[in-house]
Symmetry: C3
Subunit: 283 residues, 3 copies
């Protein structure tokens, strides 16, 4: 690998069940054999641009500056949605359809500049795929990202800039805290362990006088209807509660989260995430 | 990585659920630390040499010439089936059991020469696995491929050549087109998104006067019995149909395919692929 | 990659469904871009330190000496369980919570020295995760392993040594053989193909006069109750039995195992592994 060139970190909803990832990586390596490819994940929920946005935000800052992220969750492939490369204010690049996948990074990190990929320059040619409209991961995003990482093009070479304000974003809800009551939403889950992560920063808990070891009153509502209500331990890790108990903790991004110790909160209590799922904490 | 040596792209049905892939890659890295290993996929359907064949064909041409593919879907491991390395007419190598996995590449690309792996030379020794008959991915295919990539052996060093005509192939059915009727089979699916891919080249559609934007009459039969019949939009990408609608498009290999926009055709309509699944298109 | 530095082979129960692996690898690459990361597996059964132990044992010896394994199955994260780095007698390093994951390697290979990770030195700083207690894969194990691989610290730099005898181990049951009867347990499965692997070395079979081609009487008991009883072919590979038949073979580690040819033994006969599952073989 040529370590003077940025790494390419991929995240998609393709899975590894067929040959799509393999073909996409082949294109990258055919542009420049010396590029280093990293699997971010290929198991994002299908068509879920919200998860794409959250996962970028969750992992990006742990990578070396300059790293190029390629995110392909693309339900609108082949339609008028823009294909873009965004440069973040902290020095990363994100190659993605402009369909909401930049929501969290734009809001919580910042985007310095965004450019629409010029397909007349930065689309794969010569492999018989000129007439293909449904695999931009291979033909456009992967190919363009490889050219950028390789130095064949610079950021300007991606294509024309457009206003950062035009970037398509999902709505982000804000948590509230007053008089010992903190309210937010479950904004994402951990689909493996079944934990639920709120949009509430830990600091908001501390500011309301909640401390590790407290038992908090929790009410979870779906579209206003109570789906779970109990008094639950708030502590710093799962092992502070008994196996099978619900507990509150702060997650890897310093936001408030809930879990079942060595269990699965989502499945056990039939809970999910999204703007319809609100959660209220009080002493 | 030593970029003067070809990459090794692996595809198997092992999954990552246990230690098999890890052991296999360890053998490769013990032969030559400088070799570059790529995950093609380890989630091929179990024992499915047809899918192995299709996935090689789907992705191979996007890789740099000289790349070595290692394909291990091997229901006959330890029996008399040949273990081989094939050299394609366009300059790739495929290390695989000779059990049908070369069908598509042999037919649509061409195989220049094939050699049976000489186990007396190209099988792992010294790790206590001499008496193991069930893991040729680790002990034979991975090991031999690493030696070939490393330059320890050249292609002749794999073992004796045998006639290309003796390569084991599955039967390939040909689509037909006349008088505005195009008929083929669903020859594979996209197991992630639930799309079905026919064996009909897009050109055959165009030659019958079908054009993007047309609504075509589709009949899908399983063993002759009608399982789906409707008039369906033919267009260049999913987003041209409404969410939940069935549509016809040309896939990433320029063959005709069917999907449900942001849905799953196989599950929604209980359809599958194989020689028993025929599909007929007309205006 | 810098090939003078050891590779890092990761195994976890995180899956690739969200951003955890990506964040963890980002930390490694931020410590030292030139390190080579290998996916051992991220699909270990959740919280299953026994499987973590077995998979290390299964694959470790096939890697070049000096390779560093990072194993993170960590139900006790954030509690008093030790975080450690073990040096094996055959020259590998294992970075892991000391929670049973070293059982097989300690017993069958040997551990020369073990050190507790000093969190005051070898924990990630400066990324806002100082208050996070639930992701040691990223903040402690991955970070410490990267420092060790990079040469920033040597083995002594991990932290203070502690007695090898204090390493937490699961109980290992021993198989028995006398008068033509061999008895053991199913100690693990192949969760992909549904095979069951016993703790009985092949040599124990041979010593009792069992030979490939024999039909053996098999009794499988769960907590003493017979769950399967039949006469079954013992041979060297699956293809020696008919499709769908149960058969006995020696697995990739030269231990006795059982399978259904091109089928799934666990599912078909509702069998599982663990100390409660005993199996007896006789002629």
């Amino acid at each position: 690998m040529d370590q003077t060139k940025p790494m390419l970190v991929f995240q998609t909803d393709f899975t590894y069940k067929e040959g799509a990832v393999c073909a996409m990586y082949g294109v990258v390596k055919s542009v420049d054999r010396s590029l280093e490819i990293i699997d971010g994940t290929h198991e994002l929920p299908q068509y879920d641009t919200w998860s794409a946005s959250y996962r970028l935000y969750q992992s990006m800052k742990f990578w070396p500056k300059g790293t190029i992220f390629v995110s392909v969750v693309d339900p609108g492939v082949g339609t008028a949605r823009r294909a873009c490369v965004a440069k973040t204010t902290d020095g990363y690049y994100i190659v993605t359809p402009d369909n909401g996948a930049l929501t969290h990074v734009k809001t919580f990190v910042g985007i310095e500049e965004v450019r629409e990929i010029d397909e007349t320059v930065n689309r794969l040619r010569g492999k018989g795929t000129e007439g293909v409209s449904i695999f931009h991961g291979r033909d456009l995003f992967g190919y363009c990202a490889a050219r950028l990482a390789s130095g064949i093009i610079d950021f300007e070479g991606v294509g024309p800039t457009y206003p950062v304000d035009e970037i398509v974003c999902h709505e982000l809800l804000q948590p509230t805290a007053h008089d010992g009551v903190v309210e937010g939403i479950f904004e994402i889950n951990d689909p493996n362990f079944g934990n639920l992560w709120t949009n509430i920063p830990l600091q908001m808990f501390l500011d309301q006088g909640f401390a590790y070891g407290d038992h908090l009153h929790v009410v979870i509502r779906h579209q206003g209807e109570v789906r779970y209500e109990d008094t639950v331990l708030f502590h710093h890790s799962f092992g502070m509660a008994n196996k099978g108990d619900v507990m509150i903790y702060n997650n890897e991004l310093m936001k408030v989260a809930m879990a079942v110790t060595m269990g699965n909160l989502c499945k056990t209590h039939n809970l999910d995430f999204g703007p319809d799922w609100t959660v209220t904490f009080s002493k």
